[in-house]
């Protein structure tokens, strides 16, 4: 089966399963009471959130398919191996988001019938997300670093230090929020604050560093690599990949700070989700467009 067919069938399967898991079970009563909704209102709301999510997943799978196609086109070359690593990174994101959603939905359903399973239903998807993000950002980081090594480029001294400083700031804010809100953290994670620090804060800080440093490497590559035409095509790909990394970091940040988001009203939560989903989808579309331009260079 061709790669594009495989991707299309995988995407369709994910959409079908997630739609079933989200819309078939009766909505959680606590959510209905909190936002003053009926079961039908809640289902309509879930549906309105599923649509942009599915659009984002489509853009994600499309972006991955294009980058993987490009890496196949140049697979016998040194840069082909590095582009393949970038594509694997996108694959980890492409599979991680829907699989994480399915895992969370299934475990959540089990927990509704077996309350003793509630903690596991929250802890397992959270760790799954950490693992997927680590794999995705590690591959993207390795790929872009490899491309820079081939062209003997490196991010500037100031840029490298700015990345480290930003990572420290993000990490410290994250840790201080965990420390301040003892009870909310126990509800959100079902883990002690010490365990959250050890198994979420530290891995996330490392994952964010991988992501932010990949952006610095991408910036260096798109500014310094030889070839006026090649560089222009790469710029678009780099902007797309960079925005995906930034938005993923924002999503992880918000996800881990869900107890603070609970304070928002329904309209605020929806607006935030729509904006993030739209921007993420746009990032993947930009990746696909950039890759399309690079593929044209290899096809004529």
């Amino acid at each position: 089966m061709k790669l594009q067919s495989k991707i299309f069938y995988s995407y369709s399967l994910f959409v079908f399963v997630v739609a079933l898991l989200t819309l078939l079970p009766s909505p959680v009563k606590a959510t209905l009471i909190k936002y003053h909704l009926t079961a039908t209102d809640a289902r309509l709301l879930f549906f309105s959130l599923l649509l942009p999510t599915f659009v984002m997943w489509f853009a994600l799978f499309y972006g991955y398919a294009k980058l993987q196609g490009y890496s196949q086109l140049i697979k016998t070359n040194r840069d082909g191996k590095q582009v393949a690593k970038l594509a694997y990174g996108l694959l980890a994101l492409a599979l991680g988001l829907p699989l994480g959603s399915i895992l969370s939905d299934i475990l959540g359903l089990i927990a509704r019938h077996h309350p003793s399973f509630t903690a596991a239903s929250i802890v397992i998807p959270n760790y799954f997300n950490v693992l997927c993000m680590f794999i995705a950002f590690a591959f993207i980081n390795l790929g872009i670093r490899g491309l820079n090594s081939l062209s003997r480029n490196r991010p500037g001294f100031a840029f490298g230090h700015a990345v480290a400083a930003l990572d420290i700031v993000l990490g410290v804010i994250f840790c201080s929020l965990i420390a301040r809100s003892h009870h909310n953290i126990m509800t959100a994670y079902h883990l002690t604050p010490a365990m959250v620090m050890l198994t979420f804060a530290i891995p996330y800080m490392y994952i964010w560093f991988l992501g932010l440093y990949a952006i610095a490497e991408m910036y260096a590559y798109s500014k310094q690599v030889a070839g006026i035409v090649y560089r222009k095509s790469w710029n678009r790909l780099a902007i797309g990949l960079g925005s995906i990394i930034v938005l993923d970091i924002v999503l992880q940040y918000l996800n881990t700070l869900s107890s603070w988001l609970n304070g928002l009203n329904l309209a605020g939560v929806l607006l935030l989700l729509y904006v993030l989903l739209f921007l993420l989808a746009a990032g993947f579309i930009v990746v696909a467009l950039g890759t399309k331009e690079l593929m044209r260079i290899e096809e004529v």
Binding site: G227, Y230, K232
Partner: protein, 83 residues
Amino acid sequence: MTNTNLYDDVVAITYDYLGPAADRFVVRQIRNHLGKDPAQLRQEDLRQLIDWIQLAMRLISDNAEVVDHYITDLESLTRKRRS
């Protein structure tokens, strides 16, 4: 007589425009349009190769100025080699 230096010169000029994709691009143009191996590229083939490259570049880039500059650089090879 084979002329690998000519091929290297074409790739060196192309590198300024297509970066890491330069070698692959030139090899493809020579193989697909001239039906030759890059090592068999001769001075007499250069004009035809430049025409094919110009056509290909117009499909890749919409920046006519860059394409024209690239072609001028390649044409300098014909003059250099004659003299």
